[in-house]
């Protein structure tokens, strides 16, 4: 992310509840671990980082002109036994582009998200992109009764399409075209043709503003060469009070939950007294590890390079050799107690190193690797190692 000009930002793990509650939904506020400060104020462990980033940009950085490109990686805590699988803490990595609006800013965040996803090593990841304004416009224009609209919104938010049908059926004034589109929400995904389909299904409709914005974003994504990794997902539904523009999530067939999610939230910063558009995303490394495990692609920890063992008067020699190896970039550890040659050889397995060097205080040392042992002069350890590794 730093290659893209995003500056690393560190914010505290605890925050005043009064700050967090300005940006978090009711559900998330119930999941906070809370405690009191020395002066009786209520503090909470942060359950996500975006609210704090907004707080920093609005307060500490209020004299710095926008835009801000910031990224973070930090632990977050949530009290949600079921979806956290009994854990309390998880890790989040994210990026926010604050003070920039328009298709190019949205495209930049999407392209950056795809770069991060690629680093995960999961080959089937796709980014699904929708627009919060599409659903809002549909609901506002098609449902006149406030109460019905609220019920429909709630049913959609819970992805309860059985309930949604009941709510819509109960109000005969809802135009059939809009009703059809709302009920087909789980199906509204695919490539750009889905946008054209909606355009012809709802001519001159207010909801087309969102469709146009999505088209512009796709256009701005062209130079990045990533369109083939993106699906349009008009049926995406997220916390409707929070997101104001594009919304997106990344899914893999190896995970049941999103591995990355984000969107445009132009309303959040004004809650901290600084009006600014913003777009960003957060990655879920824990979920990614789990998906990789399921896909069978989880690599083992990279092996350490070399362990230097010693016996008798060999300790000084061992420290010297390790020091020399480190200067050329070889990771080298020195064993803390004397080892016989066979004990030294067993260190390969026990420590997970590629080679063991055994020093006994004589001019020649042994290099043990891949089941073989060679003896080389002390000064030729580097060349000997290279020779054995390349075999």
């Amino acid at each position: 992310m730093r290659l893209w000009g995003y500056r690393y930002i560190v914010t505290p793990s605890v925050e005043l509840l009064s700050v967090l509650s300005q940006g978090l939904g009711e559900h998330m506020q119930k999941q906070l671990f809370k405690f009191t400060d020395y002066d009786g104020e209520i503090l909470a462990f942060v359950p996500e980082k975006t609210v704090q980033v907004a707080r920093v940009v609005s307060n500490e950085l209020r004299h710095t002109p926008p835009p801000f490109r910031v990224c973070y990686s930090a632990p977050v805590l949530r009290n949600d036994f079921n979806t956290m699988q009994g854990r309390r803490e998880t890790y989040q990595v994210g990026a926010e582009l604050i003070g920039a609006s328009g298709a190019q800013a949205d495209a930049e965040i999407l392209a950056l998200a795809l770069v991060c996803l690629k680093l995960s090593g999961l080959s089937d990841l796709r980014l699904f992109v929708g627009h919060a304004g599409f659903l809002s416009a549909l609901l506002d224009s098609s449902i006149r009764k406030e109460k019905t609209r609220e019920l429909a919104r709630l049913a959609l938010y819970r992805h309860d399409f059985v309930q949604l049908r009941q709510v819509l059926d109960a109000d005969p004034k809802i135009p059939p075209k809009e009703k059809d589109v709302l009920l087909s929400f789980p199906r509204l995904r695919g490539d750009i043709t889905i946008l054209n389909q909606i355009e012809s299904a709802l001519p001159k409709h207010k909801a087309l503003k969102a469709i146009n914005e999505l088209k512009l974003v796709l256009e701005a994504l062209e130079p990045y060469g990533v369109i083939d990794q993106i699906s349009i997902d008009l049926g995406m539904i997220r916390d409707l009070g929070y997101y104001t523009g594009i919304i997106f999530s990344a899914f893999s067939e190896w995970a049941g939950v999103p591995l990355l999610s984000g969107g445009r939230y132009d309303g959040l910063l004004s809650k901290f007294g600084r009006q600014a558009p913003a777009v960003g995303f957060v990655l879920h490394p824990d979920q990614m590890m789990m998906a990789k495990q399921r896909s069978g692609k989880l690599e083992e920890l990279a092996a350490l390079n070399v362990a230097v063992c010693w016996k008798g008067a060999g300790f000084k020699q061992a420290v010297g050799i390790a020091k020399a190896l480190r200067t050329v970039g070889v990771e080298a550890l020195v064993e803390h107690s004397p080892k016989s040659e066979s004990a030294a050889a067993s260190m390969i397995e026990r420590l997970g190193v590629k080679a063991v060097i055994q020093c006994e205080g004589v001019p020649e040392v042994s290099i043990i690797s891949k089941g073989k042992t060679i003896k080389v002069p002390e000064d030729d350890v580097g060349a000997g190692l290279l020779g054995m590794m390349s075999r």
């Binding site: 699904f128 049908r165 789980p186 997902d233 049941g256 939950v257």
Partner: protein, 218 residues
């Protein structure tokens, strides 16, 4: 491969008939056996049998792409899933019932606070909150009908299909809260990453349901 989880218990038979009609030929021959997993190699579908209350977790975490589960289970679940089709069978009602001798029968006004025992604490809490009735809830796991007679509570919130169990225990429903039927649920990732496979299953199930309702009409 698509995993479909079915709930053991009351909804199992109808669920198996529905899937058999939707293309999983031979599924019903396994009814009553103790097999936990049946694989249909040709359609690349596995059918798994799990406890009803475990279905939301299987689907939420993506261990199964598709599931069939009673709405009564979803009321009490934290796991977010796509709820796409009302399958119609397994209908029952959630009611507030009290002993036939209780002064609450026919009462226009309920006391300021009620004591209520139930297996459905969330659905009950939501209901009493909506009508503005203060309530103390006792969470039970079975034989809820007994609770008022043992002096544990004023009444119970429970599901009833025919009303017989309530009547046998001399309980009278005094409020209908909600109804439950079997629902088809789908994982939020699968509905995207396995779009074609999942919709093929959903469409064949919808086709079965629609042809069924035509029969009734004709």
């Amino acid at each position: 491969m698509i995993n479909i989880v079915l709930p053991t218990g009351k909804l199992l038979e109808d669920s198996m008939i529905l899937l058999e009609q939707a293309g999983l030929k031979g599924l019903c021959q396994w009814a009553g056996t103790r097999k936990l997993r049946i694989t249909f190699a040709e359609q690349a579908i596995s059918v798994l049998f799990v406890r009803p209350r475990d279905i939301p977790a299987y689907v939420y975490f993506g261990a199964a792409e598709v599931g069939i589960v009673g709405k009564d289970v979803l009321w009490e679940s934290d796991y977010a899933v796509y709820e796409l089709i009302d399958l119609g069978f397994g209908r029952c009602e959630l009611v507030f019932a009290v002993p036939a001798t209780s002064p609450l029968v026919g009462a226009k006004v309920w006391p300021p606070t009620l004591r209520v025992a139930t297996k459905y604490t969330r659905a009950a809490e939501r209901y009493f909150q909506t009508i503005g009735q203060s309530v103390e809830l006792v969470s039970l796991h079975g034989s809820v009908e007994l609770a008022p007679y043992a002096g544990l509570c004023d009444g119970i919130v429970d599901i009833t299909q025919t009303g017989r169990t309530l009547a046998e225990n001399n309980l009278v429903p005094i409020a209908k809260i909600d109804y439950s039927t079997a629902r088809l649920v789908v994982n939020q990732a699968s509905i995207r990453t396995k779009y074609n496979e999942v919709w093929q299953i959903l469409d064949s199930i919808k086709a079965v349901l629609e042809s069924g309702s035509d029969d009734k009409n004709s």
